[in-house]
Amino acid sequence: MNFLSNLISGLSLGSIYALIALGYTMVYGIAKMLNFAHGDIIMVGAFAAIVFINNLGLPMILGVLLSVVVCVAVGVLVEKIAYKPLRNAPPLSVLITAIGVSYFLQSLAQLIFGTNQKAFPKFIQVAPVHIGELTIKGESIVTLAVTVTIMVVLTLFINKTRMGKAMRAVSEDRQAAELMGISVNRTITITFAIGSALASVAGSFYGLTYSFIGPYTGSMPGIKAFVAAVFGGIGSIPGAMLGGILLGIIENLAKAYISTELSDAIVFGVLILVLLVKPTGLLGKKINEKV
């Protein structure tokens, strides 16, 4: 029973990683860049929610929803100001810029909110559920329900809608997509908007899970979500979901049964093993072009 409850909290943590990993993988697939500032969007979202709820006294759910708007604005703005001018620059320049943006957001948060951790409001309070001897935290259930719903909607969006198909077209062949009349710049903007919205939701649930938020809060889940995206096969949307969820489960089980200190090492160790056996990640694939 203990094992099951560890598994479920791992699943809930993993679904948060999955939301963040989706942003990484979509931006990588479509803009062909690793947005290392993506993790800090989580922190921006969490602080925005704190301001809306604690400082402005808005209803909690409204505060969380508004934080999504703030993150979308910040994500799109970062893309416009920092990445768009580098659209044709070497990948390394873009990568370094992304790291710069990451430090910028962290320092900005420090200037505004100071270095101390702030308590994150418990915006959802649900009684734990008991099934026989098994106890599941209410928050875990809500987190899972929300994240799974988002993932289902996102999958339908990507596979069924005109915009979603255009995103896949851009991700596969930017020039050919342009020749179809698809605006690559607009598609990239939309991708950043979606990725930032997901990161913001992840930020609120991360705050709910860990209760405290600081200027550096985004970096660790950001890195783990990046690992999850690579683990699942970077560029693959189902890969990011699978990678995120597996990572959360492995991390939680490692904490429960092996060692809390070593849990991160175990997570990264598993990544190395997977990449040794399957360098493209679990669901990453390469299609050979016919000439």
Binding site: E172, Q175, L179, G181, N288, E289
Partner: protein
């Protein structure tokens, strides 16, 4: 319909296109022929805005498009089937066709039916991933995808590349059909014989310059062309 006036295109320091000018009139089939690296594809990419010229202009239907974003040209009536087909290999056949109709205002269902009637092979495989198609089928898909936007001007870059002779014939028949139904065509080919046989007019590119031009028949009969491109 299309007027290319004195364009010069560079890849870094390499001067790839030198003072190239030519014209495609409404209802024509115009071929650009030339050896590998003569600048044929570069010229086409400059027309469709993927590359920019340092000088001169490109005019399409009376409008200067030399600075227009590439993606805006489809809705103005230009479709470009790039070299190597460039279909979306990880998307289904039908999704590829839908992408061709991305800016289309007409009835997509009906247009899909038309394409499937023309290419029954594509209909059979419409839910298959395009990467699993044979080379010939991929070329049909690339042409079908371009047709979905109902272009006034269809630009084709090496449509016969890598195809068996019977398929090459099929592609050229299709080009003639499209032309007869009112589409203006700009064709780039290494297969000079085929390209000249269907062209109203043709231009010969050599090292980034237009060195000869004339009607398809004139060029096919010219000794220089015979020697350089038609094998004697």
């Amino acid at each position: 319909m299309l007027k290319v006036d004195n364009i010069n295109v560079y890849y870094g320091k390499i001067h790839a296109i030198k003072d190239v000018s030519f014209e495609v009139k409404e209802g024509e089939i115009v071929s650009l022929i030339g050896a590998n690296g003569a600048g044929k594809s570069t010229t086409l990419k400059t027309i469709s805005g993927l590359l920019r010229s340092k000088t001169g202009s490109v005019t399409f239907c009376g409008e200067d498009i030399s600075k227009t974003d590439s993606y805006k040209l489809v809705s103005k009536g230009m479709a470009h089937v790039p070299e190597g087909r460039r279909i979306f290999l990880q998307m289904t056949v039908q999704e590829n066709l839908e992408m061709g109709a991305y800016t289309s205002k007409s009835d997509i269902e009906k247009d899909l039916e038309d394409i499937y009637r023309r290419f029954p092979r594509l209909a059979e495989r419409k839910n298959q991933i395009a990467g699993t198609l044979s080379g010939g089928e991929q070329q049909m898909l690339a042409m079908g995808r371009a047709m979905m936007s109902h272009p006034k001007l269809l630009i084709l870059d090496e449509p016969s590349m890598g195809l068996a002779p019977i398929l090459v014939q099929r592609i050229f028949d299709l080009i003639k059909e499209l032309h007869e139904s009112g589409t203006t065509i700009l064709l780039v080919e290494q297969n000079a014989e085929m390209a000249l046989s269907i062209a109203d007019r043709a231009y010969v590119l050599e090292s980034g310059r237009v060195v000869l031009s004339g009607t398809g028949e004139e060029l096919a009969a010219s000794d220089e062309i015979k020697k350089a491109y038609l094998g004697g």
